[in-house]
């Protein structure tokens, strides 16, 4: 973290009723970094994404993108500030074509004057053509151009995940949040995805934060990893360090004896 962080997240958190879904979450991402966010099921990883993207409002702390505060902004403003995401359970616009899905995201950076649209002004026609051209280019990231006119819901599962990434890239983000992009892929596809994620980072020059269950993938490509358990950050550091962190092993594999279990529960009580 030598250079100034692109995304600085300090002490954000949210409670749902009595449950602290995420608390005391810190993350500093430099430009062009590739970080991972892991943890057992229900650890609060997706909640962190929802907090960053404004789906939930953080109840504590602050978030800065290039020094600009993001707190309190609605989701669409956060996207236009430069943070894009994909969804764990795919949320494509099923009835729209593959191309239209990308064009919708692409148009965020265009002016889209409604009066121009209604009179078909030259500016609006040019803009629409530019959006179309750029969207087709982006579909090439995953070789989806041939399927551009198909409805998004007719794509096979793997392609739908890829389309989600393309769509997020189309908003021209500075930070890309990927929520389990490898879910449902076989090991060959995962290896390819790892390469693609690196390529995207280099080609589009953005920072990527990755939620992933596949340890091999995360350990291979992430520079730093943050581990969540029950909404609490239990470890944070480079992959080698995470791999041998006793707390992480405990969270994933459970504890060896009763003494350890007691220790963990008393620790949980302290934090509350």
């Amino acid at each position: 973290m030598s250079s100034a962080p692109l995304l600085a997240i300090n002490d954000i958190g949210i409670r749902f009723g009595g449950l602290a879904a995420v608390q005391d979450f810190f993350l500093h991402m430099p430009p062009r970094s590739l970080y991972g966010l892991i943890g057992p099921n229900g650890a609060g990883k997706t909640t962190v994404f929802n907090l960053i993207t404004g789906v939930y409002q953080t109840q504590t702390g602050a978030m800065l993108l290039e020094g600009q505060p993001l707190g309190g902004l609605p989701p669409h403003r956060i996207t236009s500030a430069g943070i894009a995401r994909t969804f764990q359970n795919i949320r494509l616009f099923g009835d729209l074509s593959v191309l239209d899905n990308v064009m919708l995201a692409c148009q965020l950076r265009a002016k889209n004057r409604i009066a121009g649209t209604l009179v078909r002004s030259r500016a609006s026609v040019g803009e629409e053509a530019a959006i179309r051209m750029r969207s087709l280019e982006l579909l090439d990231v995953f070789d989806l151009r041939a399927r551009a006119d198909e409805p998004a819901q007719s794509l096979p599962y793997g392609h739908q995940r890829q389309l989600e990434i393309v769509r997020a890239l189309a908003t021209e983000p500075k930070v890309l949040l990927l929520d389990e992009p490898a879910a449902g892929m076989n090991s060959g596809e995962k290896r390819q995805l790892a390469q693609t994620i690196r390529r995207i980072r280099d080609e589009f020059q953005l920072a990527i934060l990755l939620i992933e269950h596949d340890m091999e993938l995360v350990m291979e490509i992430c520079e730093r990893i943050t581990v969540l358990d029950h909404g609490v950050t239990i470890a944070s550091g480079p992959p080698e360090q995470i791999q041998c962190d006793p707390k992480v092993i405990e969270a994933y594999l459970g504890v060896a004896d009763d003494e350890g279990a007691e220790e963990q529960s008393s620790k949980g009580a302290e934090e509350k």
Binding site: T53, V55, P74, P75, H76, T79, S80, A84, R85, F87, R91, L92, F93, G94, D95, L96, D100, M103, L104, A105, C106, Q107, L108, R109, A110, K111, N112, I114, T117, L118, V119, R120, S121, R122, A123, S124, V125, G126, E127, E128, A129, A130, I131, M133, R134, R167, A170, T171, E172, E203, F204, Q205
Partner: protein, 371 residues
Amino acid sequence: MPSNAAHSPIVLREADALRPPRGHALLRGIGPLLIGVAIAAVMQWGVGPFVGTYVARILLDVGIAIILAVSLNIVNGLAGQFSLGHAGFSALGGYAAGSITYYGSLILWNSSVKHGGPFGAGEWLFVAACLTGGLVAAGAGFIVGLPALRLRGDYLAIATLGFGEIVRVMLQQTGDVIYSARALEQATVNDFFPPPLGGSLGFSGIPTYTSLFWVYLFCAVTIVVAQRLKFSAAGRAMVSIREDEIAAQAMGVNITKWKVRAFVISAFFAGVAGALFAHESGVIISPGDAGFQRSIEIVIMVVLGGKGSITGVLLAAAILSTLPEFLRDFAQYRMIIYALLLIGMMLLRPQGLFGNHEIWDYFKRRRKSSS
């Protein structure tokens, strides 16, 4: 290449180079409207005089139904916001326009009957009144659009239904129409509270201006606007809200803004349709026109045509507004047959006539498969 992404969006870098040549753009921009004017003129002078008053009257109603259905399709089909208040907007537009032409004529020409010939002064007052009616309805659309931001599905339907009923009840509470220019001169402030719009008896005396020309001209404008919205950034934004609000927001769509815009644009054309209806010969608009039964008739056209499909909705509006006339031979069984046909169609084609598609998609597909 993307290093200066922060300064100018990548997507717009080619936009200026991709602008069409001026003449071409002008042709594409105005062409469809000129075609609309031509169709309107043909309906007025090529069809109207030869089909008799009965058929001409049905054609007027078909045109108005098309405006209502195609405009409802913007909010209901594209943006996916289930509105049951369309007749309310329409009635507001009708009353606003009617009061302008009626009282305007009394003030300007001392008489409420039609003033001047084709494209005479009276006719232009009527056109201005139609547009004002549209604006009044659009204003109401804005007010209804605001709560729509918080309500989803059934709840929004109930709220918009409530809006229609409020309009209906408010129109019932209006005062008697002031019948002559003299009475209007002598009227005191008290005579305008409540506004003299006829109360539950209806607003009678509105001059007859609505002709096939104006109906089909406004019809063409509605279709062109709906088509341009649908196949543009605006349409994609609206459909994204229909498909998945959370994903739409994550892609930078301001769902608040687009929901309100959908309501406002849709209500504007409903208001224009109401204004055209109010000036039809033999029509006395009444508070009942704002009721939910009217709204549901329009919703049926949209559902039957296929939510989001402009051509489908257009066809459904034309069929459903002429069908009862064809069934007149069956006398009292007419509405039963009408209802059975609706049920049958919903069973056979639950997605509507064209589903999400437009009529030309079918021709394209056929060409593709044959080649």
